[in-house]
């Protein structure tokens, strides 16, 4: 009798064992505290919107999305990635906002053969000498925004430029990128302190130099400090302000307000970019998050989940066949909110870049407005160094 019952129980369980496929696991390392908290929160909202729209599935198969905060800290991120790989056995990875974190966790993921789809950073190392098949820079290569901004400044006929960045590696890359796009000689380069609060001394130099425009790469709070002080010094009346998209996105606009008006900035996406998928995305985002306009970080995160979804669909859920997954990912065969794009040899996108200007919309809201295309199809300069 007892044996009979055990057999019955086993029989009842068997179909479950046979048919329930293990869910596809995506490891997301969020940036919800620390230096990139505001941008990380934008990215999280983009991920969550895509996950919700897909009904929590990928390619129609059951999926699990692991989300943990690692606070923008490379050490903490490395520990989290090890846990994701060894304990959770993830199939895809994404999430970090900073290049320093991407550089720290990338090699670990590549060694474990786990595709890393970047929702933001595009360090030059991964575009050049350290390029890898398991890396997909879904967003952009770091230099692109700066190079595009340089071209915008040259195209608009600015002769005398002052360019400014914090004195650290990414700041130097940014200014070099700008100069590459600008092509002419810039008037003056100013390197400021990382985390600087007061910009009065630099503003006095600007007033003295009388340039046509100033280019700033001052991420996060530094940019907010600078722009507020730039405007209160009255310099916005005679000097144009140009920046990469990250210095002038919706998150910064919400923190600064009116003083941002008239700032030119460059990105591979804009919330008013005219394509079907983007309209759907922006509308859904506003509905989900109290009428907030998405930033580029939210758009990129949304794209990453959709890219994974398409790859899972193309391989019919057999994600353990990594070679097939890589082929599917590389096709970039999904409806991106920035319109169709393709990958170069280093798995960085070859795509258009746009210039946006901050304006007051008819409804009184201050927001970015798309005003033109800078590059038709831009590819980074590092692709030649990538020998795979």
């Amino acid at each position: 009798m007892r044996l009979m019952r055990q057999l019955l129980v086993m029989a009842a369980l068997l179909p479950g064992l046979a048919f329930a496929q293990a869910p596809i696991k995506v490891g997301i390392a969020n940036d919800l505290s620390g230096p990139f908290a505001a941008l990380g929160a934008e990215a999280r909202d983009g991920f969550n919107l895509a996950i919700k729209q897909l009904g929590g599935k990928l390619g129609g198969k059951p999926a699990e999305f692991l989300q943990t905060d690692m606070g923008g800290n490379p050490d903490q991120a490395r520990q989290l990635v090890n846990r994701y790989i060894q304990r959770d056995k993830i199939d895809f990875f994404t999430g970090p906002i900073g290049s320093n974190v991407a550089l720290a966790v990338g090699p670990v993921l590549f060694a474990a053969k786990i595709p890393y789809l970047s929702n933001n950073p595009g360090p030059s190392q991964f575009a050049g000498a350290q390029c890898n098949d398991y890396w997909f820079g879904v967003s952009y290569q770091n230099d692109a925004f700066h190079e595009a901004a340089g071209k915008v400044a040259a195209d608009r006929g600015y002769k005398k430029m002052v360019i400014m960045a914090p004195d650290y590696p990414a700041g130097k890359d940014a200014l070099n990128g700008f100069k590459r796009g600008f092509k002419n000689a810039v008037g003056q380069e100013i390197y400021t302190k990382l985390g600087q609060i007061d910009y009065a001394a630099e503003l006095a130099q600007l007033r003295d130099a009388k340039p046509d425009a100033v280019y700033i790469f001052l991420p996060g709070g530094m940019g907010i400090n600078f722009i507020k002080q730039f405007v209160s010094a009255g310099l916005n009346q005679s000097i144009k302000l140009v920046g990469p998209g990250f210095s002038a996105d919706e998150d910064v606009i919400r923190a600064v307000g009116e003083p941002m008006l008239g700032m030119f900035n460059t990105a591979q996406w804009a919330h008013d970019l005219d394509n079907q998928q983007n309209k759907k995305f922006v509308e859904a985002f506003r509905k989900e998050y109290k009428n907030r306009t998405p930033s580029v970080y939210a758009a990129q995160a949304y794209d990453v989940i959709m890219a994974i979804d398409a790859a899972v669909k193309a391989t019919d859920g057999k994600v353990s066949d990594r070679a097939a997954v890589l082929v599917a990912l590389k096709k970039a065969d999904f409806a991106s909110v920035r319109g169709p794009f393709k990958y170069g040899a280093n798995n960085f996108p070859i795509q258009p870049y746009y210039v946006r200007v901050i304006e007051k919309a008819p409804d009184g809201q201050i927001t970015n407005k798309l005003v033109g295309k800078v590059f038709e199809s831009y590819q980074d300069v590092y692709v030649g160094e990538c020998k795979k």
Binding site: G220, V231, S232, D251
Partner: protein, 306 residues
């Protein structure tokens, strides 16, 4: 380099120094009287900025924003003193630093819970948002002139408070010898409470004043606290006069370093060397100043005791 540029940079140095003084005053006062290094002082500054920004968004009045920020942060300081600082006063410095450091972590997360992780907006009072013509060639932001005025007023007020009032005498008595003051009938715990709340309100005043020109975000307190610590170490920990002189020195040296050093180096070195060494040296200038001061005056320029 024109004289107007030099004049403008001097004003900038003064303004930056006075802004640091507003925060340094509270910190050094608390240290002088309570003998406790409150590293969470920066969090009170952050609280002031957030409360001011919130009030400004609701009432649209800058004056209301400053007053509400000072009152609310003062209340926060009151609770903090009664709940934590009072217990830490009798412990050693390590326990004090750890205890107040915990407050930084808690404060950052509480702010994030209430206002979210994105930086907050605080607009400038419209009347002061433009520049003022000081000299024919010299335009200076009106708002920065306000910061200079308030900073000077606060410095004068504190000076008169400490030297000319009865409460000031008690504060000095408590600072120079706590036990003796207690024996002479000074109610030291009440005095401590008053000083701590005053320090919190000064920090909030600084936060509210700086809100329109800086990013209001979590972690803004730690960023500024480092500079403020340099000021009070140079001036001599515990001394208001020291904090004033130290803050002005830091303001002038830092501004001059950033404004003139890269150009000065270009006279002696190649442009490539000057542009790479200049910013680094400018960033280091205030720490070099601190080191030099400490070599000749190990307890700062105006030590509070002895």
């Amino acid at each position: 380099m024109s004289t107007t540029l030099i004049a403008e940079q001097l004003l900038n140095g003064l303004q930056f120094g006075l802004m640091l003084f507003l925060i340094a005053a509270g910190l050094t006062l608390v240290f002088g009287i309570l003998d406790i290094l409150n590293v969470a002082h920066g969090s009170l500054y952050m609280a002031g900025a957030y409360v001011a920004a919130q009030t400004m968004q609701v009432t649209d009045s800058f004056l209301a924003a400053v007053i509400v920020a000072a009152v609310v942060t003062g209340a926060v300081g009151l609770v903090l003193e009664l709940v934590l600082i009072r217990r830490l006063v009798v412990r050693d410095h390590l326990a004090q630093v750890l205890g107040t450091f915990a407050i930084i972590l808690i404060a950052n997360d509480v702010v994030k819970m209430i206002w979210g992780p994105a930086p907050m907006m605080m607009s400038m009072p419209p009347a002061l948002s433009g520049p003022v013509q000081l000299l024919p060639e010299l335009l200076y932001p009106a708002y920065r002139l306000l910061i200079i005025a308030v900073g000077l007023a606060a410095a004068l007020g504190l000076y008169l408070f400490v030297t000319r009032t009865r409460a000031g005498v008690l504060v000095r008595a408590g600072a120079s010898n706590r036990q003796m003051a207690t024996l002479m009938g000074v109610r030291v715990p009440l005095l401590f409470l008053g000083v701590f709340v005053l320090g919190a309100m000064l920090a909030a005043l600084a936060g509210a004043l700086l809100g329109p020109v800086t990013a209001i975000q979590t972690g803004m307190g730690e960023q500024i606290l480092i500079l403020v610590l340099v000021c009070i170490v140079i001036g001599g920990i515990g001394s208001i006069r020291g904090a004033f002189v130290g803050a002005l020195l830091v303001g002038f040296v830092d501004t001059a370093g950033r404004a003139f050093l890269p150009a000065l180096l270009k006279l002696f070195f190649s442009p490539a060397v000057a542009s790479s060494v200049g910013p680094t040296l400018a960033a280091l200038s205030i720490y070099i100043l601190m080191a030099v001061v400490l070599v000749f005056r190990p307890s700062g320029l105006f030590p509070a005791r002895g």
